[in-house]
């Protein structure tokens, strides 16, 4: 079985708020010291989902695919060190912001160039733009079925059975391969890169493609980011005094009662 996992490099979503700033002239996050570039956590969990399938069926091949600047090689290295087999970077200039259509189109062409695959996995959304569009968009372009928000994936012969998170519950859905599945955080924590795979990572096949290797047609941006900003917080927190829990509880309950909130 061949699984292609689409991953993205993002600014560390767990960064302290003080280090997260936006240049409002360029509508971009400012790369300051201390703001690391990491693999988008949902995509890391998609790799984990692929590795769990490989744990069961060791002849599974996992190819990780990313679009990004040269720095995105780091997320490929991370994926290979977790246990993926091959990696492909579609290299674009740093600072180029692709909209979801252009991203899906690039991935579509890259997947066509890869050739055969059984399953494509991606995180449910990227941890920077939080759009959640590219996965299903790619499936549309490839004309393959898509199942979103997976928390468990099992391949049974030529079918894939997915437990997915829905509003107030879960669904079990099955479809035939090839298919695309987006992975939700409920799938569980991703494994850490291990020593054995890290040692092997530099010898695993890694390719770098450019736009010229893929599309010949220009991509028209359909989603135009006209302003990116950090919303202002206007709240002021009133800390309750009181030296004991009983005192604080009494103050709080009285306050809430006075405000007719309880």
């Amino acid at each position: 079985m061949h699984i292609v996992v689409c991953v993205k490099q993002v600014h560390d979503p767990e960064v302290a708020p003080a280090l997260f700033t936006i240049n409002e002239a360029t509508n971009a996050v400012v790369s300051v010291a201390g703001l690391a570039q990491v693999i988008s956590p949902y995509d890391e969990q998609a790799i984990e989902a692929a590795l769990r399938m490989k744990d069961k069926k060791p002849d599974t091949k996992i190819t990780v695919l990313t679009i990004g600047a040269a720095s995105a090689r780091e997320v490929l290295k991370h994926a290979l060190s977790m246990g993926a087999d091959e990696a492909i970077l579609v290299n674009i200039s740093a600072g180029v912001l692709l909209d979801s259509y252009a991203t899906a189109k690039f991935l579509h062409e890259a997947v066509n160039k890869i050739g055969s695959f059984d399953l494509i996995l991606a995180g449910r959304q990227s941890a920077d733009l939080d759009a959640g569009v590219v996965g299903n968009g790619l499936a549309e372009l490839l004309h393959i079925p898509a199942i979103t928000f997976a928390k468990r994936i099992e391949v049974v012969e030529s079918k894939v059975v997915v437990d997915r998170v829905v509003d107030n519950g879960s669904e079990k859905i099955e479809t035939t391969l090839p298919a695309l599945i987006t992975v939700s955080n409920e799938i569980g924590a991703a494994r850490k890169p291990n020593l054995r795979e890290t040692m092997r990572a530099s010898r695993k096949p890694t390719q770098s493609w450019t736009q010229a290797d893929l599309s010949k047609e220009p991509m028209e941006a359909t989603e135009e980011l006209i302003k990116l900003f950090i919303p202002k917080k206007e709240k002021h927190c009133e800390f309750l005094a009181g030296t004991s829990a009983a005192e604080q509880a009494s103050l709080l309950v009285r306050k809430l009662r006075d405000a007719r909130l309880i």
Partner: protein
């Protein structure tokens, strides 16, 4: 055609849960009516349900034209996508509004790509400016907002709950009703099983008071303590993503960017650090009370009332106090 002066109609994708229209549908209708006023078009609504009461409610809430599924209902994404795409094409809808939940987030990208339109998800407001539909998105884990101009119609927009007041009902309104037939042959997947959470107590989305716990609870037993307070207050119980991912509580209790968005009158956050990911789901609450042992926790930047302390000592005292007041 985009950016022109032609009138543009809006299609709302209605949601039916337990035979009734979901609250988000009324918010979408309210946004659609405002957009239609600006774009000079009409408001349509598509609903995968054939109850007459549903159609009447949609018209009363502002829909001019209802497209309802008359054959048996389906939850298959391919079937629903095909029906929506067909309805858009047949009636030249130029903006499509979905709720930003599992249902809408799953279907919206499919509809946008198959209709060759453009898309903005996770929006907290929408507008029509200079001939284009525009969405204000929540992004970077809730830390930032992005204003996106959709340059190609149909402009598909998913809207977070709480983005608008629900549409007012006017039972005197008139509307056109058009039956549609879903084509089940396009389904490529099969639903094997569906599990609904046994929701003890109140629904998070509609509760006036919500108490939620995070990593600081220290374990699943912390939620038992929250439940005891919730019972006293008539509150619903929620959780941060960390608490859900650790398996301390059900994923459907998650509040935040990838969980539910709630706007209660009172939100009590217990042992929740207040990452922007979480605040994206609750920052609009009227009053936020934060209980945390760490005085530097970011939650206090979003809270109206803060208590630095151990919830294990505080919550039982709070239950006692409420009991005293009520007696």
């Amino acid at each position: 055609m985009t950016g022109d002066t032609k009138s543009k109609s809006i299609l709302v994708i209605a949601e039916v849960v337990d035979k009734a229209l979901a609250p988000i549908t009324f918010e979408l209708l309210s946004l659609a009516s405002k957009l239609a006023e600006q774009s000079g078009g009409q408001v349509g609504a598509i609903v995968f349900d054939n109850q007459e009461t549903t159609r009447r409610a949609l018209i009363a809430a502002g829909a001019d034209h209802i497209f309802y599924q008359e054959n048996e209902s389906s939850v298959d994404a391919d079937v629903l996508t095909a029906a929506i795409v067909q309805t858009i094409a047949n009636n030249a809808f130029e903006a499509i509004l979905f709720g930003h939940n599992a249902f809408g987030s799953d279907l919206a990208p499919r509809v946008a790509f198959r209709s060759s339109g453009s898309i903005a998800t996770n929006c907290e407001s929408t507008s029509f400016e200079g001939g284009y539909f525009v969405g204000k998105r929540v992004c970077y884990g809730g830390k930032a907002r992005g204003i996106v101009r959709l340059r190609k119609n149909p402009a598909v927009i998913t809207v977070r709950s709480g983005s608008a007041a629900p549409a007012e009902q006017d039972s005197g309104r008139a509307g056109v009703e058009t039956p549609i037939k879903a084509d089940f042959s396009v389904a490529r997947s099969q639903l094997v099983d569906r599990q609904s959470e046994d929701l003890r107590g109140l629904r998070l989305e509609t509760a006036k008071i919500v108490i939620a716990g995070g990593r600081g609870l220290g374990g699943p037993e912390g939620f038992k303590v929250l439940e005891s307070v919730a019972q006293k207050l008539g509150a619903a119980v929620g959780a941060s993503r960390v608490a859900c991912d650790l398996g301390w509580c059900s994923p459907s209790m998650q509040i935040g960017l990838t969980g539910k968005t709630i706007i209660p009158d009172l939100y009590i956050a217990v042992g929740i650090s207040g990452a922007s990911q979480h605040m994206a789901g609750c920052a609009a609450a009227r009053t936020i009370v934060a209980i945390n042992t760490d005085p530097d926790a970011p939650i206090f930047m979003d809270a109206n009332i803060g208590i630095v302390g151990d919830y294990k000592e505080l919550l039982p005292k709070i239950v006692e106090e409420i009991g005293r007041l009520n007696s």
